[in-house]
């Protein structure tokens, strides 16, 4: 059995904007072992977020193969991908993307509506996830009543609650001050080291990248190591 959590094989991604075709990734190949914490860095337009979206099953490659946890996700239909995401990936965004009409607890519980868990079990799991991120006392608060750091913790709890093996984080500290950013990155580190979560994080911030086990650099749609080779 492979030790890879993510295998990207010769992936190309072309976007069509009107009549224009933009090739964002050019035959990219990448392996991320289970339990790794990878920071993806690179200038704007280098294809970091595109790669993250492909690994997270939010988008499909134009060509090439993507295996996550042994599953070929580039061949899945939209409905199958949605199911796959619900069980296998947790997402953390730069601007948190919480539901403003729900409390912290409700936001964390949201992905569990896709499971067959009872209402009480869902509530219990959400409470555990909030406890992991240290926000038990803010469970009944709505996002607008929380600070940026607290909102991001809720988002991390939401990403964790279904117990996925892979977390994809798109600039999770991009909207936070240094101190709060370090707290959030510390939390991701704990999730990686103590809970065995594989984490792929896009960041512009070299200090944030220091929290990862390794850093990969992208430029013009290719990994720098690949480009050099």
């Amino acid at each position: 059995m492979s030790d890879s959590m993510v295998q990207v094989r010769d992936v190309t991604k072309v976007y069509e904007r009107g009549k224009q075709k933009i090739e964002v990734l050019h035959g990219l190949t990448l392996d991320i072992p289970k339990g790794d914490f990878v920071a993806l860095m690179g200038p704007s337009g280098s294809g970091k977020t595109t790669l993250l979206n492909l690994i997270g099953g939010l988008d499909q490659p134009t060509s090439g193969e993507i295996l996550v946890g042994g599953s070929r996700i580039d061949k899945l239909s939209s409905g199958e991908l949605a199911k796959w995401r619900a069980h296998n990936v947790g997402f953390v965004f730069q601007f948190y993307n919480l539901m403003p009409v729900l409390t912290a607890e409700g936001n964390v519980e949201l992905p569990l509506l896709l499971t067959k868990l009872s209402a009480s079990q869902r509530k219990k799991n959400a409470a555990v996830a909030l406890q992991v991120v240290g926000l038990t006392d803010r469970a009944k608060h709505k996002p607008r009543e929380l600070s940026g750091g607290q909102e991001q913790r809720v988002a991390i709890a939401r990403a964790l609650v279904s117990d996925p093996r892979l977390l994809v984080c798109d600039e999770p500290t991009g909207d936070l001050d240094r101190k709060t950013a370090d707290e959030i990155l510390g939390l991701l580190q704990v999730l990686n080291r103590e809970h065995g979560k594989t984490i792929v994080m896009v960041t512009h911030d070299p200090k944030a990248a220091e929290f990862a086990r390794r850093t990969l650099h992208l430029e013009k749609g290719q990994l720098l190591e690949q480009a050099a080779a």
Binding site: N53, G56, L58, D59, S78, G79, A82, K83, W84, R85, A86, H87, F91, F93, N97, M99, P100, V101, L102, E105, G106, E109, L110, P111, L113, L114, A119, R122, R158
Partner: protein, 385 residues
């Protein structure tokens, strides 16, 4: 948290907007309930009447009276078993409250309308007392009239010979209907035609319309043709129709109520579609990123479509139900206030049509936003494209 809770929470994200939209829906369905009931009232007069009666009036209009000399001729038409006649009195009670008052021949009327029930002694008293009147139970109850009292009723058409339009009649009987439908028709007053004919200042020996009782409902068409042919090219040409058609054409003197109601409701619902449709479209437009997050978390395209549809349905269902309930309450109050004369309470049929309207409106206002939500691509929506 449940899916229903999530839908409700989203519905009230802009509380003021949702409440105002809900009020529009409630108001539309309140109007729908009341106007459909008005329409039913006007049509109800036609639905239950027997097929064994024909109404004959002047061809031009029933306001143009016909001579009583027609009675024997009408009675001689094969298939006609009895002829009654009825004259519009233009009754007014107290402070200009219009009353349905008709001058009739008591015995003939009794024979032709067995559906109106009253003790035989009271029919006799009506026949034998020149100044007699009998009142329907609904109207007698409404004004608290008792048998034996003298009831002053004015006419806005016919003065007495002394020039006074104030008349007074002796109430000798109160009639009821034989069943629920006919009980609803007891909002009229009958006076003795002989007395009216003698005492009024205008023309004598005339009436507004004849009521022909038939031996067999199947002969209605042939009898009406025979009657109208009989008076063709005479000074008193006639128009004979079934009681149902007569009732409908009587109502249409006011206007085509059904058409008026349909147009009002069309305008109301068209406006409502724009209001609710705009609310739904706006609501989806402003949370495209949230819908994308739902899909990111693993909700399928169909689930997201379902959430948006559920919001549209909840809005229409709640507003529609409250509107129809208010129409029921308002209708009951009008019914009570009018002594049962105006039965505005929405019937089961109105509720059924209302329910169908709720479903149709939900589809109409929810479909496009729901499809938009279903179609959105996660990466584009998250990137704000």
């Amino acid at each position: 948290m449940t899916k229903t809770g999530f839908v409700v929470a989203n519905l009230f994200r802009k509380r003021t907007r949702t409440i105002l939209t809900l009020l529009s829906v409630i108001m539309a369905f309140l109007l729908f309930g009341l106007l459909q009931s008005v329409n039913s009232i006007f049509n109800a007069g036609a639905d239950f009447v027997g097929a064994t009666r024909l109404m004959t009036q002047a061809r031009v209009s029933f306001t143009q009276p016909l001579p009583l000399s027609m009675v024997p001729k009408l009675e001689a038409v094969p298939g006609v078993t009895r002829v009654a006649y009825s004259q519009w009195f233009g009754g007014v009670w107290q402070d200009n409250t219009p009353l349905f008052v008709f001058a009739v021949d008591p015995q003939r009327y009794h024979d032709v309308y067995p559906e109106f029930v009253m003790p035989e002694a009271q029919w006799q008293a009506f026949t034998n007392t020149r100044t007699a009147m009998v009142a329907g139970k609904q109207i007698a109850d409404q004004y608290g009239w008792k048998v034996g009292q003298k009831v002053p009723i004015s006419s806005n058409i016919y003065p007495q010979k002394n020039g006074s339009k104030a008349w007074a009649f002796d109430l000798v009987g109160i009639f009821d209907g034989k069943d629920e439908n006919w009980k609803k028709q007891t909002n009229q007053v009958l006076i003795n035609h002989d007395y009216f004919d003698e005492a009024n200042q205008f023309g004598k020996g005339r009436t507004n319309f004849y009521i022909l009782r038939l031996s067999d409902g199947d002969r209605a068409q042939s009898v009406s043709k025979t009657v109208d042919a009989m008076f063709e090219n005479s000074p008193d040409e006639t128009k004979t129709q079934t009681e149902k058609d007569f009732n409908l054409s009587f109502v249409k003197q006011i206007g085509d109520i059904g058409l008026i109601v349909r147009w009002i409701l069309f305008a109301v619902f068209f406006t409502l579609l724009l209001v609710v449709g705009n609310t739904m479209a706006q609501s989806v437009r402003e949370r495209i990123p949230e819908l994308a997050v739902l899909k990111t978390l693993g909700f399928s395209d169909g689930s997201v479509l379902g959430f948006v549809f559920a919001e549209a349905f909840a809005l229409c269902l709640f507003g529609g139900t409250v509107g129809l309930l208010l129409a029921t309450v308002a209708g009951a109050m009008v019914e009570k206030g009018s002594g049962g004369q105006f039965q505005l309470r929405p019937s089961a049929t109105v509720w059924l049509i209302g329910s169908a309207a709720i479903v149709l409106m939900s589809i109409a206002v929810g479909l496009l936003p729901a499809l938009r939500a279903r179609r959105l691509k996660i990466v584009d929506a998250l990137a704000g494209r």
